[in-house]
């Protein structure tokens, strides 16, 4: 298995270096407009945080997979894991917030030793939509995870899982050898306990990320193709497909530069800029919390270490009044969320 950029001591493991790359070159020379200039054209700068709707908690960067496009640079060698103490601070906020969605991500969130305790406690808060972003293979990785479908069901967790394609070739190329077969088995097990079935309240959604330097196609058309292929070939059902654009961060940025696709990819993002997507950007209604409790406008900013523009920096000092209305921190990676139909952790934002 390949190692994370951090473990390899690669230049792009450094978030400052990533921000430099995104700020210099074609953007500094004026060949392409900066994101700030672009949204200023429609008087949408500065972007402001609206009412908090989604609390996204990254419980650690450890993962059993090392996906080639991962913006987290997650992997088995990443040791950043949220402690129970930080989880308790998060729970205080979850209990008191009006946010309707709680979204746990990673890494593989299930690998955090306090994951189950945290889910049990958080489920008691009665948040309307409780998402766990599961990479699927974790369910088949080790005996201790085999009962995860039942555990998710017990706590009425909404499972959102990555699946880049309905064929083995494209899936394994992006996510590692053997991932496709394990993912199919995990999806069948989730279906077996009632997840993803038509009319079922046990929500199972899939996330599609392009497996290369191109943008996702139409989300509705992709969903139709995925549903047809997975049902015909594997008798698998799911509810919705979220098409998410790959953002030029961490391993995907490293891939873009190494394959000499970086400039063309940034051109395609800028050309696909859709001002209509700006109003619904997820950073305007989301708060992202890192494994060590720091606050960011989104998971992407977290990986670039661009913390919130507020006097409140940590979950322990959370104050909704001070965070609402803050200016969102932006850079050129934000073009990934405004391309085409827009992109967010919940898929497109303009339809």
């Amino acid at each position: 298995m390949i190692k994370s950029l951090k473990q390899q001591n690669k230049e792009l493991a450094n978030s400052k270096r990533q921000v430099e790359i995104l700020s210099n070159g074609i953007f500094k020379s004026g060949e392409l407009p900066t994101f700030k200039d672009k949204i200023s054209e429609s008087n949408q700068f500065p972007l402001k945080a609206k009412k908090l709707e989604i609390l996204q908690i990254n419980v650690g960067y450890m993962c059993n997979q090392v996906c080639s496009h991962c913006h987290v640079d997650a992997g088995p060698d990443r040791k950043e894991i949220m402690t129970r103490e930080t989880m308790l601070q998060c729970l205080e906020v979850i209990k008191n917030t009006e946010a309707h969605t709680l979204d746990l991500t990673g890494g593989a969130p299930e690998m955090n030793p306090d994951f189950r305790w945290f889910v049990e406690e958080a489920a008691k808060a009665g948040v309307k939509d409780f998402i766990v972003r599961s990479n699927l293979t974790i369910i088949r990785a080790n005996k201790k995870y085999y009962d995860l479908p039942e555990f998710f069901k017990k706590h009425n967790v909404h499972v959102v899982s990555s699946m880049p394609h309905w064929t083995q070739g494209k899936t394994d190329k992006q996510r590692g050898d053997g991932v496709f077969t394990k993912s199919i088995k995990a999806l069948q097990e989730l279906n077996a306990v009632g997840y993803g079935l038509p009319g079922s309240d046990l929500r199972l959604d899939l996330v599609y990320n392009p497996s290369g330097a191109f943008l996702p196609g139409n989300q509705a058309a992709m969903e139709k193709d995925f549903k047809k292929a997975l049902l015909e070939d594997f008798d698998i059902q799911f509810h919705n497909l979220f098409a998410i654009t790959n953002l030029p961060i961490a391993r995907f940025l490293d891939y873009l530069i190494a394959s000499e696709n970086y400039e063309d990819y940034m051109y395609s993002l800028v050309e696909a800029y859709n001002p209509a997507a700006v109003n619904n950007l997820m950073c305007t209604n989301t708060l992202s919390i890192s494994w060590d409790g720091y606050l960011y406008d989104c998971d992407f900013n977290q990986m670039l270490n661009l913390s919130v523009n507020s006097s409140i920096k940590h979950i322990s000092e959370y104050n909704n009044d001070l965070l609402e209305g803050r200016n969102i921190v932006i850079s050129q990676h934000c073009y990934g969320c405004t391309a085409g139909e827009g992109s967010s952790c919940q898929g497109t934002v303009t339809s």
Binding site: H165, L215, E271
Partner: protein, 111 residues
Amino acid sequence: MQKTYYDPADLKKFSKISEWNEELGAKFFDYYGKVFEEGALSEREKSLIALAVAHTIQCPYCIDAYTGDGLKRGITKEEMMEALHVSAAVRGGASLVHGVQMMNKVNKLDM
């Protein structure tokens, strides 16, 4: 003077064709857009047909456009290559089937 006949950047300027004849340009692009909408055939199937035709007419702009379009739609490289072989087979067959004309002529004239 431009050193090559084709420049990839020109593909992005395709819509500028309308600048010199707005009416016909608009009609063409309306038609083009309508053709590729889902109908009896899916958009995906139409994209594969376009890719095969692009190779038949050997249009570098079209190959660029429909390879990218296929990737966005989740079309696999196996599907793309099969579509190309259909194009190659029909194209090769078109040469070969004219051999019947040759044979007819030879049979008629030859003693």
